[in-house]
Symmetry: C2
Subunit: 260 residues, 2 copies
């Protein structure tokens, strides 16, 4: 058992929790909690850390029996954890890598294109909702908040393991490439004249969602095939970015389910 | 100008920002930022506080010219503010009160019924989305997180001023009363067999949304007229509570707009 926060492995683990750069350098990220441990692809689990008191529950002991794990004294575990009330299990997971060709290979795929989303909770909620709606993949620019941020990971509720994603330095070029693959792109935009539900999303489609404060950049919006509008009553000027993406993806799901 | 954090008014203001009980006792709440000041119903603004540097912008000076305001030294303002980068304007607003009779008087109203929502950001997002979808009102039980919590207020983006709401000690009784008014209630529930979009929401309706972790209590779910299901692909077990409410309310809006 590791009993000191000065321990080398503990220090390295804390760096991985806190710093996107460390995560990128090592190609790993850290997840917290039983559900995130349980749902992790087993071949991508590099390390498992549990707190001393975690192991006192027989059910917990059973959960980690098949893994090599390291025990941390409770105060050491708390010092590393990103949550207020830690569940007592932390796992270091290898980052996934998705190939562009396979990413876009799905017939009648549905994609989410994110430009500079800043809120980790929003990004995580988008992953969770996207999986539920049946997304084929999420494309983000480099300016989007780190998908491996502990808060993002937590908000995905495990979808981070299952929703394919690409991070690109050139989102505009990606949109041009997608156009060549006959993926129609729809941008929620003030210039949109027709409501979002006036369009057919049963063929390959992509929804473009911009930054929480500023919306889509002009450069990116100009590349969209169609501007759409989410009708808003009252004095609402915009919806939360995750909410807007969810309403669009679920409209696509609705059409695909009902085929109407 | 107030230059000390020990000032009596500053101390009282800080209590209002931090404590739900103080807010309830005084019947007021605190909003931050220019937009929240600007959109506040003028007859409900009790006090306005600005930071010293806020007033150095002529545009800001003009904004508050019509109000009686108190200037706080920047460090005093920061000590009270709930945000990391304060905009420099705080307003104390009288709580609104909605009469039950008027609340339910709208023909073909649409309502959101919330049981024990715990996340302030979720609750605020629900208000914002609800206004956009054209809600008639939101009903919450007392166990729902304080709607006047600064984080909730911020997430509403001003909808707190415009969406009527009721807070009740007896949500079950409220549902029974609503039933008598011919408001059909729909609960997103695992027992739901049909997808949410298989129902007609053009007449008076209410969507029941439960606590983030536990969903709706059995007692409340049993009072619902209909169980509905939000179809989820992949391994998603549930959607974020705010997201679920948004998808349902926007489906109702879609039907009402298109009349299909």
């Amino acid at each position: 058992m590791i009993t000191s926060t000065g321990n080398k492995r503990v220090k390295e683990l804390a760096q991985l929790v806190k710093k996107a750069k460390e995560r990128r350098n090592q190609g790993v990220f850290v997840v917290e909690g039983k559900k995130m441990y349980d749902e992790a692809p087993k071949d991508r689990v590099r390390e498992v850390y549990v707190s001393e008191s975690f192991l006192t529950e027989p059910e917990n002991q059973k959960l980690v029996d098949a893994s090599d794990y390291e025990v941390l004294a409770d105060h050491v575990f708390s010092s590393v954890s990103d949550t207020v009330t830690p569940q007592g299990i932390l796992s270091v997971i290898e980052m996934p890598h998705y190939e562009k060709e396979q990413f876009f290979s799905k017939e009648n795929g549905m994609y989410l294109v994110l430009e500079s989303i800043q809120d980790p909770g929003n990004l995580g909620t988008m992953f969770r909702t996207a999986e539920g709606a049946g997304i084929s993949g999420i494309i983000m620019n480099k300016e989007t908040v780190d998908v491996f941020n502990p808060k993002t990971i937590r908000s995905t509720m495990g979808s981070i393991y299952r929703v394919p994603f690409l991070i690109t330095e050139n989102l505009a070029q990606m949109l041009i490439d997608m156009k060549k693959k006959n993926i129609k792109s729809y941008a929620a935009h003030l210039k949109g004249e027709k409501a979002y539900d006036a369009f057919d999303y049963k063929k390959s489609c992509a929804f473009l969602i911009g930054n929480e404060g500023n919306g889509l950049s002009e450069a990116l919006a100009e590349l969209a095939d169609t501007y759409i509008r989410i009708p808003m009553e009252g004095q609402v000027e915009s919806l939360n970015a995750a909410m807007a993406s969810g309403i669009l993806m679920y409209e696509a799901q609705r059409q695909r389910r009902r085929n109407d």
